[in-house]
Symmetry: C2
Subunit: 446 residues, 2 copies
């Protein structure tokens, strides 16, 4: 790809034609990434060199900071031209991130049909199918032949974001789906009625976008129709948006699983203060929860005064408990997110985790018990630690599988029931189990 | 959808025609899921009722257990018929999971061209572009017109898995790409040379599949050409396979991040023994690593004999350190996986994490120091805990960001540098920091 410095030199030397050629050879995504690296003034200059057909596509690939800057700088004519070429869903995406004064300016520059569509799209709840759908798609009539359909697409299709799935409608109601593949491979005189598939996978405008992404993956779709509450076709979601949803939702889960508030921006796009803000709340909550474990320990002061060695196994028990719990909770959270596990299977899950913890617990207890016996020649300590490990593993795995399932049942994101919270809860249990066993084995009065 | 019991009743009553109609109305994925729920005998019977055109598609949606069962049961004729209709990449997917005797039987039933293609595909390294590509795609010649191209597609396209991106080749070399969209919206007499895009995003057969998925997401592709070492077109990867790769790779990362060996099967598909096997290794490693922390504690026996209250803050410090470390490591691991963070940015990352830890650390230290001072009226303890917290947070965040970056640099999956390992390492540091500060503040001789 072109070197940034060389390109700036071209601009300074006013070799606009050469710069223009270089830009026209890059694909849209790379052009956007390249322009984002330039300074404000150069970027504005370079953007104006991009051919009119390409400009809107490059614009929609840019980050919101750059979009804001460009929109702010555009003349009314330039803005109108850009908006004419921009896809409806890209316009909505842009508007969601722009400052209010620019939003007003853009809405003013749209023709009234477009404006009302966009206003409607902006009103769908965040994370709903309606908020990610596009309103540009190809509709056909049942009575058309393949030839007529192809001509219809030729006439209007060039402006549509995807033409690979066409929608057969009757009074706005979706009757069937015809793929571009069947149009392209069927006889010219074949009737659309005979080609259309009436077994339609569709969603409603208020369907959760995560659910939409699931369906895409399950059925390998390129696009999916979105219906309103009356069953009328109002838009389609395309596979690229579904892919983005998948990644966003996973990012969200992974952030929550590491005790952070989710964040749509990338690591470097987020400022230090924002990062701190996303992290501090859970750290505070977990820190104060952990003091509970601490105060339980102080209740057993007699125990570790009598047998000081007891203290040295606290980190190992806590960590092992935490790890066992987070293994289970992670699998359950992921299974819930991918729709592979459901609340109704809770007893099946618990029974499975119980059996797993018996195996895992026995191995860990045996390994550690043996090590302690060999190292310290102290049978009682070995028994206390081994027994505690066994119980801690079972408890941790059960807590790890139950909490995410209940969170899901009660409409809370199960991802917050991941390692950090599970660890804190399991810690308390571990300490209680451990000292109770120790007190009995060593006959200590507390 | 049809009730399972009613359907079995239909089969028992030999109402095959009705059963057949029911199956023909379901889509492929749902039919496969439905059949998987039936008993072996009923499933075999039902599968034979599915129309020939649909059978291969339904088959490729089934899980490997069911596929094995059906292949085992098929007569040679049935097997031949199925293999004729099965896409090349689905056949390879199936072969990878079948027992050896069935693989031999299937290879025997393939014609020699198909067999040699499949043998070649089976040889690509796991997780490479070659292993997920399909060898069925549409090629065009530069000299064709749109009309000729459309006729060509009509002739051969129906058997191709995707026809929405056509590849213009010359002596097997890829010269350009034409989308079905431009074919459908261009004049019949337009030349392919004028329509084709020569700015091609392609990968090599040995490119890592994760990289392939990145490119799909970055450029919103439907299909991507795969070239061999000579630059000849040998296959394409389609978006649905790229989506599956994204989910699989994320599952892998999430498993590793929770100290488990990754597993391609779903939670319920994995047996208790397999689950235990995937979990035990890391648990053992981490358990024994945690004993290091324990033995460090014993070195400070004098300290907690002198000030027993010190012990009660161990869990809080360990947990907070672990949480801070896993927040940072999680963000870095995810950033690396999505290609948003690179090793060369290590100092930028470290500086950012350092500043974040100053903010977060101050808040945590102040909050907890104050609480301890109010609760115990002990200024020294409050200072020891607050100071330790500050240091622990900084150390944890730095370890949390450095380790994944180095793992990535040295070709180790950064996901194993997640919470569990970071926690164990940070624990040791926390205890050392804490007791060193305590020993100095309280003037304890150890």
């Amino acid at each position: 790809m072109m070197n940034k410095e060389e390109f700036i030199q071209l601009l300074q030397d006013k070799k606009y034609k050469t710069a223009q050629n270089i830009l026209s050879e890059m694909n849209d995504m790379d052009t956007a990434a390249f322009l984002e690296e330039l300074d404000a003034k150069e970027c504005a200059l370079a953007f104006r060199l991009i051919s009119k057909e390409k400009a809107a596509d490059v614009f929609s690939c840019m980050n919101s900071k750059m979009q804001t800057f460009l929109v702010d700088m555009f003349s009314e004519t330039e803005l109108k031209e850009l908006l004419d070429d921009l896809y409806m869903d890209d316009t909505v995406d842009m508007l969601e991130d722009l400052p209010a004064n620019l939003v007003t300016r853009i809405l003013k520059n749209l023709d009234s049909t477009k404006r009302s569509t966009i206003n409607k799209l902006l009103k769908y709840p965040e994370d709903s199918a309606g908020s990610i759908m596009t309103t540009e798609y190809v509709t056909l009539k049942k009575t058309m032949t393949v030839k007529q359909a192809m001509n219809h697409i030729k006439e209007i299709g060039i402006h549509k974001e995807t033409i690979y799935t066409c929608y057969v409608t009757e009074n706005k109601r979706l009757m069937g789906i015809v793929t571009a593949k069947s149009l392209m491979t069927s006889d010219d005189n074949e009737n659309i009625t005979n080609l259309m598939n009436t077994n339609i996978i569709s969603v409603h405008t208020h369907t959760d976008q995560e659910q939409v992404a699931h369906l895409f993956r399950k059925y390998d779709l390129i696009a999916m129709p979105v219906l309103d509450s009356d069953g009328c076709l109002v838009g389609i979601v395309t596979f690229d948006d579904a892919m983005d949803v998948m990644v966003d939702e996973t990012n969200e889960d992974i952030s929550r699983m590491a005790a952070m508030e989710p964040n749509e921006k990338t690591y470097f796009e987020t400022t230090v203060w924002q990062q701190a803000k996303h992290r501090i709340l859970w750290l505070l909550v977990l820190m104060f929860s952990a003091t509970i474990t601490g105060s339980i320990i102080t209740r057993y002061e007699n125990a570790f005064s009598a047998v000081p060695l007891l203290v040295s196994f606290i980190p190992m028990l806590m960590d092992t408990g935490g790890n066992c719990g987070s293994q289970s909770s992670t699998l359950i959270i992921r299974g819930l997110a991918l729709g592979e596990i459901h609340f109704k299977e809770i007893f099946k899950v618990m029974f499975k985790e119980f059996r797993i913890s018996l195996i895992v617990g026995s191995i860990l207890a045996a390994a550690n018990g043996l090590r302690i016996f060999i190292q310290y020649q102290n049978f009682n300590i070995a028994i206390v630690v081994a027994l505690s490990l066994m119980v801690v593993v079972i408890v941790a795995k059960l807590i790890g599988c139950i909490l995410p399932l209940f969170a899901n049942k009660f409409g809370v994101d199960p991802a917050i029931m991941a390692s950090p919270l599970i660890t804190t809860i399991v810690d308390t249990c571990s300490i209680l189990v451990y000292f109770n066993i120790a007190v009995h084995v060593f006959n200590i009065v507390v």
